[in-house]
């Protein structure tokens, strides 16, 4: 098989691209998480402003990924930085929205009960609201990660490296081997991330919510 010979010959290049891809995804999703969860908590305390802010962030999300990458390229030049900025921005919305929905959908009765136990609002947040919102937050992270694996492939276009680079080389030289060497690992990567986070999701869902939660 031609393709297998190709993989063998180029395994170092494919491995580097794969690692670079993983780095892009993990880094930008981490930034997304660090920003979105505190922001989501803050928004859940100010529901009126929250709806407006979420609507604006939703509009930003309708900007096609290629456009964002183009803008970042013009603003920050070629390379890692523009890609990481764009990917981080994109990872925000799903996590932010799910944190917000998760927190606002906690049953008022449960918060009431917590308050009745004499909990302070910080205790309520960390012992009642956040644990109940965790499944929703994690599924937001899952959606974000799958998206970012996909967007990171586009980032190859602006010189960020990663598996998109291989696909892009393949597309521009009409080389099927390069296309497959980039496409198959990136698809597998998306499935692995999705499955892994799905596993975590099942693990962290509070016992009382299991069975009825997604």
């Amino acid at each position: 098989m031609n393709f297998i010979a190709f993989i063998y010959e180029h395994h170092a290049e494919i491995l580097t691209s794969l690692l670079k891809h993983i780095y892009l995804v993990v880094f930008s999703v981490a930034i997304g998480i660090l920003f979105s969860i505190p922001a989501g908590i803050l928004l859940s305390r100010h529901k009126k402003t929250a709806e407006k802010i979420l609507a604006v962030v939703g509009i930003v999300q309708t900007i096609p990924g290629l456009v964002m990458l183009g803008l970042a390229l013009i603003l920050f030049g070629v390379g890692n930085t523009p890609a990481l900025v764009v990917l981080s921005v994109y990872s925000v919305l799903p996590i932010l929205r799910n944190t917000y929905t998760g927190l606002t959908e906690v049953q008022p009765g449960l918060i009431e009960a917590g308050r009745g136990l004499g909990m302070t609002s910080t205790q309520l947040l960390f012992r009642v609201e956040l644990p109940l919102a965790v499944p929703s937050i994690i599924s937001g992270i899952r959606i974000s990660t799958v998206y970012i694996v996909s967007w990171a492939a586009l980032a190859g276009l602006i010189g960020a490296g990663g598996l998109g680079d291989l696909i892009w080389t393949g597309l521009s030289t009409y080389n099927t081997n390069y296309i497959l060497a980039g496409a198959i690992p990136s698809a597998v990567l998306a499935f692995l991330f999705s499955g892994l986070i799905g596993g975590i999701l099942r693990f962290v869902t509070p016992r009382g919510l299991r069975g009825n939660a997604a």
């Binding site: 309708t62 096609p64 990924g65 290629l66 597309l171 990136s186």
Partner: protein
């Protein structure tokens, strides 16, 4: 300006063709999953798996199969659009109240009559909201088609990136955002009417 209009029309045509095809396939798959219970979860898993595959990867693989051009991007969009439509069709059909299904059966309706006269009309608001999600997604995914040689608004955007021309990028991006927001708004209005009607 004339060029831009041409790109907009081309973009819309690609999205509309893809949506029509995926609505057809999606609703049929949803019905199959509803009628034949054991097939429901494989069908849903398949459409979910397709959506997990990175866009560029899927399109590049499709290009190997279909070559350069609009067929490739349309088939890619069809695959991506399936999940919301299949899932909402299935959920919509499953959640038709059993009493209504019973009543339809009691009136002597056949399986097909029940589907077309009772179950699909009741599930339609939900199916429609699946279609809305698909259309809005397709508008922005279609941009990537330029990388596999299809037309549409991806072209000015990509040219703009290559020449680092902000105006050119925006001339492609703004129509897409306007269309996405417009479709989202109009279809949400229709969606609300439909669900009020269904009640």
């Amino acid at each position: 300006m004339i060029n831009l209009l041409q790109y907009i029309i081309e973009h819309l045509i690609i999205v509309i063709i893809a949506t029509v095809i995926s609505v057809g396939i999606g609703i049929i798959l949803g019905i199959i999953g509803y009628w034949i219970r054991p097939l429901a979860s494989p069908i849903l898993l398949f459409s979910e798996a397709v959506q997990t595959i990175p866009t560029l990867a899927l399109l590049a693989i499709l290009m190997i199969l279909f070559g350069l051009g609009n067929t490739t991007i349309i088939s890619g969009l069809v695959l991506y659009a399936l999940l919301p439509i299949v899932r909402n069709t299935h959920t919509g059909l499953v959640s038709v109240p059993p009493a209504i299904k019973e009543a339809a059966r009691g009136m002597g309706m056949s399986k097909l009559q029940r589907l077309f006269w009772v179950e699909l009309p009741l599930a339609f608001p939900l199916i429609f909201s699946g279609i809305k999600i698909s259309v809005v997604n397709s508008l922005s995914i279609a941009v990537i088609g330029v990388l596999i040689g299809s037309g549409g608004l991806g072209y000015p955007i990509y040219r703009g990136i290559q020449t680092q021309n902000l105006n050119l990028i925006m001339s492609g991006a703004i129509p897409i955002m306007i269309m996405a927001i417009l479709f989202d708004y109009l279809m949400s209005v229709i969606e609300k009417r439909l669900s009020r009607h269904a009640k």
